[in-house]
């Protein structure tokens, strides 16, 4: 076993033991504990849990690589602004009001505020979005196990499934939340240590957010030399219209994703829900402001190490990752097909986005324990997101389908059992999808934001802020947004139609248009359809004010609605 493998094993075993210990301490016996941790999580802990839930394998493993290599550098800003800006919308427009409304799930709100048809659409959307996501997380777990511990991906996914099974089935939301707090700690330490070390080494400034400013001019010059638009150049890879639409789509999509919104139900009060959003974005910002510096440092180092170097003189990380096929020739064929004395030009090779963070300690020449720590951090990111998504699936099945539709007389113990069985089933399906990922997963994950923006966001906001928003208006709006967005995606995406689209709008940005259509249709149809009942209008009025109010309490007990 190499040094790196030993250290990785040490960190993985250590962190997994901690997760199991934390989960055992917070096991639950009520449905409220299982779905929303009894609504009793303090704001900073809830914020850390939201941050871990939100930052997936994609944020931890892929994002820095996407910024560095998918475009010129500036182009990746859509993810940085989009995936953080959505929290402002959540904090101001949704979190406090949904928390005041109470209940367990998004379909609960949609169903109670509008009608049963809308509830059904929401259940299906929540389950589909969550499964698509969770498959990506499980695949991420497999990737880390394969690269660092040299076990095959199937074994890796099964180990990951077993861990999630233990704490999610036993502890429900409570177990998941406290485990996620631990996982956030692991992942942020693992992300920041190498970033600080590299920044200090290259620039003498130990704060990566400031340090990477000093290398931007050099990076710009290098890219110009290589014939790529400058790293910091505006619209070097994406035009202005698409930058605007994609950023907006990611922002509004973030504010419409069920696994994020549900976390505000776990807060103690309306005030705690607001503070949860603040803590969550603060914890997310720590990683999201570091990612662009990791991207810039890695890109500079990689260009300097690789461009004009003979294959036989390549640094060891180059060989490690080309052996597993994540560094290839520009046409996708293996590096090993080239004679050893070939001099490599940067433009001749293709570097997979996923290796930048995982390889950054090696690229920066940091010692083996740090490499192991980064592997444990990547696992923490993937597992924490997977467990949050699995809970959404489980609560949608057990609460929204079983309890609300099939057996409203079910006892608490029985609901809890159905929740646990649904969770176990979801883990098995997620594991299967992780081992045999359908080819379109990566694309669908990116599109999920557009779909969430076009379906959920408008009807949630209008449902809260506009008393006269009607059930028929919301259902029509949701369907109109969803159908136009899906149609445009199917028309333009490579694997289906590959049409040119309208005005050159990319499919990832169309969710913004779909959202506007949804808003327009909901507002227009609401003018001509029966108004919500006076009780419902009064209820919508009451969720505006924090503190205990009679009608909301009665509604929560199921006495009105």
């Amino acid at each position: 076993m190499s040094d790196i493998q030993t250290w990785t094993l040490v960190f993985v075993v250590l962190t997994f033991s901690i997760y199991i210990f934390v989960a055992y301490r917070s096991r639950v016996s009520t449905t409220s504990g299982f779905y929303v941790a009894g609504g009793g999580i303090p704001a900073p802990a809830n914020g850390a849990a939201i941050a871990a839930d939100w930052m997936s394998a994609a944020s931890f493993i892929s994002m820095a690589g996407i910024i560095a290599f998918a475009g010129n550098g500036y182009g990746g800003s859509v993810y940085l602004m989009g995936w953080t800006g959505g929290y402002v919308l959540l904090a101001l427009l949704l979190a406090p009001y949904l928390r005041k409304f109470g209940k367990y799930t998004i379909p609960d709100f949609v169903g109670d505020r509008y009608n049963e048809t809308a509830r059904l659409v929401a259940v299906v959307a929540a389950i589909v979005v969550s499964f698509v996501y969770v498959a990506g997380q499980m695949a991420g777990v497999g990737l880390v196990f394969t690269r660092f511990l040299k076990v095959d991906p199937t074994t890796g996914v099964i180990i990951g499934m077993a861990i999630v099974f233990f704490y999610a089935v036993l502890g429900g939301m409570k177990g998941i939340t406290w485990t996620q707090v631990t996982q956030y700690t692991v992942l942020i330490i693992a992300y920041l240590i190498p970033a600080v070390a590299v920044s200090a080494k290259v620039t003498d400034v130990p704060i990566p957010q400031i340090g990477f400013g000093t290398i931007l001019a050099e990076l710009d010059a290098l890219q110009t030399e290589l014939g790529i638009p400058e790293y910091t150049a505006a619209f070097g890879s994406t035009n202005m219209l698409n930058m605007l639409l994609i950023t907006a789509s990611l922002m509004f999509g973030t504010a419409g994703l069920p696994h994020v919104i549900v976390r505000f139900y776990t807060a103690k009060s309306v005030r705690a829900a607001r503070y949860s959003a603040l803590w969550a974005l603060f914890f997310i910002a720590l990683l999201y402001t570091t990612a662009p510096s990791v991207a810039a440092f890695s890109k500079l180092q990689i260009i300097e190490d690789v461009n004009g170097t003979a294959l036989s003189d390549m640094p060891s990380w180059f060989n490690t990752w080309s052996e597993v096929g994540l560094i290839t020739q520009a046409d996708g064929s293996a590096i090993s097909a080239l004679p050893a004395d070939t001099t490599v030009n940067y433009s001749d090779i293709l570097i997979n986005n996923d290796i930048i963070v995982l390889a950054s300690p090696e690229i920066g020449g940091l010692p083996a324990p740090i490499v192991g720590l980064v592997a444990a951090g990547a696992l923490a990111a993937a597992l924490s997101t997977a467990s949050g998504l699995l809970l959404v699936i489980s609560s949608a099945v057990a609460n929204d389908v079983y309890f609300k539709k099939i057996n409203p007389q079910a006892t608490e113990a029985r609901q809890l059992m159905v929740g646990r069985i649904a969770m176990a089933g979801a883990i098995v399906v997620a594991g299967y999808l992780g081992i045999n990922p359908p080819g379109f997963v990566a694309q669908v994950v990116a599109l999920a934001f557009g779909l969430a923006a076009a379906s959920f966001f408008p009807i949630l906001v209008l449902g809260i802020f506009w008393k006269n928003c009607t059930a028929m208006g919301a259902t029509a709006g949701m369907l109109a947004g969803l159908v136009t967005t899906m149609a445009y995606m199917l028309w333009t995406i490579d694997i289906y139609g590959n049409g040119a689209g309208v005005f050159g709008i990319l499919e990832t940005g169309f969710g913004t248009i779909g959202m506007l259509i949804n808003f327009a249709v909901t507002i227009i149809v609401s003018q001509f359809t029966p108004k919500p009942s006076p009780v419902m209008q009064e209820l919508v009025e009451e969720i505006r004010y924090p503190g205990r109010t009679e009608l909301v309490s009665k509604h929560a007990q199921g006495e009105v609605g």
Partner: protein, 92 residues
């Protein structure tokens, strides 16, 4: 709260939201995208300013916006006497 106070509370909440969301749009869509090219002419500590807003400044501003929102809402709640939060229970 009586009807008048409710209306006043809500009006002030909406006004705060409008101000914060305007700043939200100005730093991200404005400084980060629409006006990125002129802003890039200014370079601070190695960062072209538009690029900095897109990759650092907008995120930092978002955190500050939510911080302002929660503290202002705390004050507003206290002023209207609806800040007895912690006894609030979750749905039974």
């Amino acid at each position: 709260m009586d009807e008048h106070q409710r209306r006043e509370y809500w009006r002030r909440n909406l006004r705060l939201m409008a101000v914060l969301l305007t700043i939200w749009a100005l730093v991200s869509f404005g400084a980060g995208i629409l006006f990125v090219e002129p802003l890039n002419e200014v370079v601070v500590a190695g960062f072209p300013l538009g690029f900095w807003f897109a990759q650092q400044g907008s995120i930092i501003t978002f955190v500050i916006l939510i911080a302002v929102y929660v503290t202002r809402m705390d004050k507003l709640d206290a002023e209207f006497g609806i800040d007895e939060y912690e006894e609030e229970v979750h749905h039974s």
